[in-house]
């Protein structure tokens, strides 16, 4: 798997760190009580096949955060954007 970094060009996946789904939004900070919204955000996942947006960090390169659209069924990289 190679990721075409907008700054550095196509680089091997070993240069990058995957962090998380880029398609979910962090809920607003609320009170001290845990809410279903927060539980869902932290613990629950759609985890379906097909393309999804993900945050990747170019750790051994330009240190940029990237939003990578990747098909999890095939590992094909469909799109790379800056967040």
């Amino acid at each position: 798997m190679r990721i075409p970094c907008p700054h550095c060009g196509a680089r091997g996946v070993e240069e990058f760190l995957y962090t998380q789904d880029a398609g979910v939004t962090r809920p607003k900070d609320g009170g001290a009580e845990p809410t279903k919204e927060w539980t869902d955000y932290v613990y629950m996942r759609d985890n379906l096949k097909g393309p999804r947006k993900e945050y990747w960090y170019h750790n051994a390169g330009c240190h940029a955060w990237l939003v990578v659209t990747r098909d999890v069924s095939t590992h094909e990289i469909l799109k790379v954007e800056l967040p």
């Binding site: 091997g12 613990y43 629950m44 996942r45 999890v72 069924s73």
Partner: protein, 416 residues
């Protein structure tokens, strides 16, 4: 047909013409009392223990491909019960006890080999952590032994004891741990379940879950509609896809884990060894191949294959621990899809849909749990109450804050 030394000799004299297929190829009936989705280790053991221990009526196992083509045939065959947290230790010890009696129970040679699992430690804090884990195990009646460097050297002389970065200081040993022939586990449970009347239906992919007013009534499959009074889902790797069909989400991500086997070598490694300074574990199969593995690839995947960086990382770990294997050639690598949960521990529980039960989230440790996961899942389905050793594997433990996180990394499944 009952397998025994007598039957082997009799068939040898007859030119092996009398062997019958080990299990019936069933065609789907219109309905069952219990339908289990997934013909892997979890599904087949669940069906077997349902048929053996509980009076639940007609049982079917639906498998989308052929029996045992998933993770039951893709793992590194290791069994152990060296867990340290309260929800885990008794569960995995039940599994070990079931492994110990499995072959007599199902009348099938699964090649259970209690050759010992050695977890190597490389520093004082790691020794202390292993001592603590060993003590926890012994308090639960599980065997554990802490070896120092000289004791370990006598048993395993070929490690790189003086590695400059990761000198070997000793090991935590579970001598009852070992390996089991994984395909034989699937075949043995299938045969034993089939003998007790379970219908095992292959090439039957579930495409929809039928519900009426929030209660499961059956499944749509590629071989037609099949009614089910109760439905058990045991499809680790694809659990979220089944949950999506039923209309709920799970605290699970699917990740790829690779495994490796070398060319056949003469007998060399007679136990299971894990590297404590990296992620690498190894044993030698009876055919002579070194069977080893390491970390998951680290990003979500439904492709049953991994990428090269992890191959490199695993081989580096192996060569750091035992440089002698550096000259062995890799014969095959393959990948499987793991249900990675948010705390690294499994789920055996009710689901939000009535009469739908889930057995999921085995991360990369499901194989050793196969007997107990089936035993406890069967108990849950039949009695509608969790078995006492699996009572902590609840789906709502994430919302309740009762996580079972052996590694302590939090809700980052790619790091477990």
């Amino acid at each position: 047909m009952r397998y025994s030394a007598v039957s082997v000799i009799r068939e040898a004299l007859r030119g092996h013409k009398g062997w019958k297929p080990a299990w019936r190829k069933a065609t789907p009936a219109p309905g069952y009392d219990v339908v289990i989705i997934g013909g892997g280790g979890g599904g087949l053991s669940t069906a077997y223990y349902l048929a053996k221990n509980h009076n639940v009526g007609r049982i079917a196992v639906l498998e989308k491909g052929w029996l045992g083509n998933g993770n039951i045939g893709r793992n590194t065959t290791i069994i152990r019960s060296n867990y340290g947290l309260p929800g885990n230790t008794p569960f995995y010890e039940l599994s070990m006890k079931l492994w110990e009696g499995l072959e007599q129970d199902i009348n099938y040679n699964a090649m259970v080999s209690q050759r010992g699992v050695f977890n190597i430690y490389h520093s004082d804090p790691q020794r202390d952590a292993y001592a603590r884990r060993g003590n926890t195990m012994r308090l639960h009646g599980v065997d554990a032994e802490l070896l120092d460097r000289e004791q370990l050297k006598r048993e395993i002389p070929f490690l790189n004891y003086d590695n400059a970065r990761f000198p070997v200081q000793g090991a935590l040993v579970q001598r009852r741990g070992g390996t089991v022939r994984h395909d034989a586990v699937a075949w043995g449970y299938a045969r034993a379940a089939s003998d007790r009347g379970v219908d095992i239906i292959e090439n039957c992919e579930v495409t929809g879950i039928i519900q009426e007013n929030g209660v499961v009534t059956g499944v749509e499959t590629t071989r037609g509609r099949i009614g089910a009074k109760k439905l058990g889902v045991a499809v680790a790797g694809s659990s979220s896809l089944l949950a999506n069909m039923a209309g709920f989400r799970l605290p699970i991500e699917s990740h790829a884990l690779q495994a490796f086997v070398s060319e056949g070598l003469k007998p060399l490694i007679d136990n299971v060894i894990t590297f404590g300074a990296g992620h690498f574990y190894i044993s030698q199969s009876d055919k002579g191949g070194l069977v080893f593995g390491g970390d998951i690839d680290g990003y979500n995947s439904y492709a049953a294959r991994g990428n090269l960086p992890v191959v490199e990382d695993v081989c580096e770990g192996g060569v750091a621990l035992m440089p002698m294997i550096g000259r062995a050639r890799l014969l095959r690598t393959w990948g499987g899809i793991m249900d990675m949960t948010m705390d690294g521990s499994p789920i055996i529980d009710f689901s939000p849909v009535k009469n739908l039960f889930i057995n999921a989230g085995w991360c990369y440790g499901g194989f050793k749990a196969v007997p107990a996961m089936g035993y406890c899942f069967a108990h849950l389905i039949a009695n509608e109450a969790p078995h006492k050793v699996a009572a902590a594997y609840r789906l709502d433990r994430f919302a309740e804050g009762k996580l079972i996180d052996e590694k302590g990394v939090g809700a980052q499944p790619n790091l477990h």
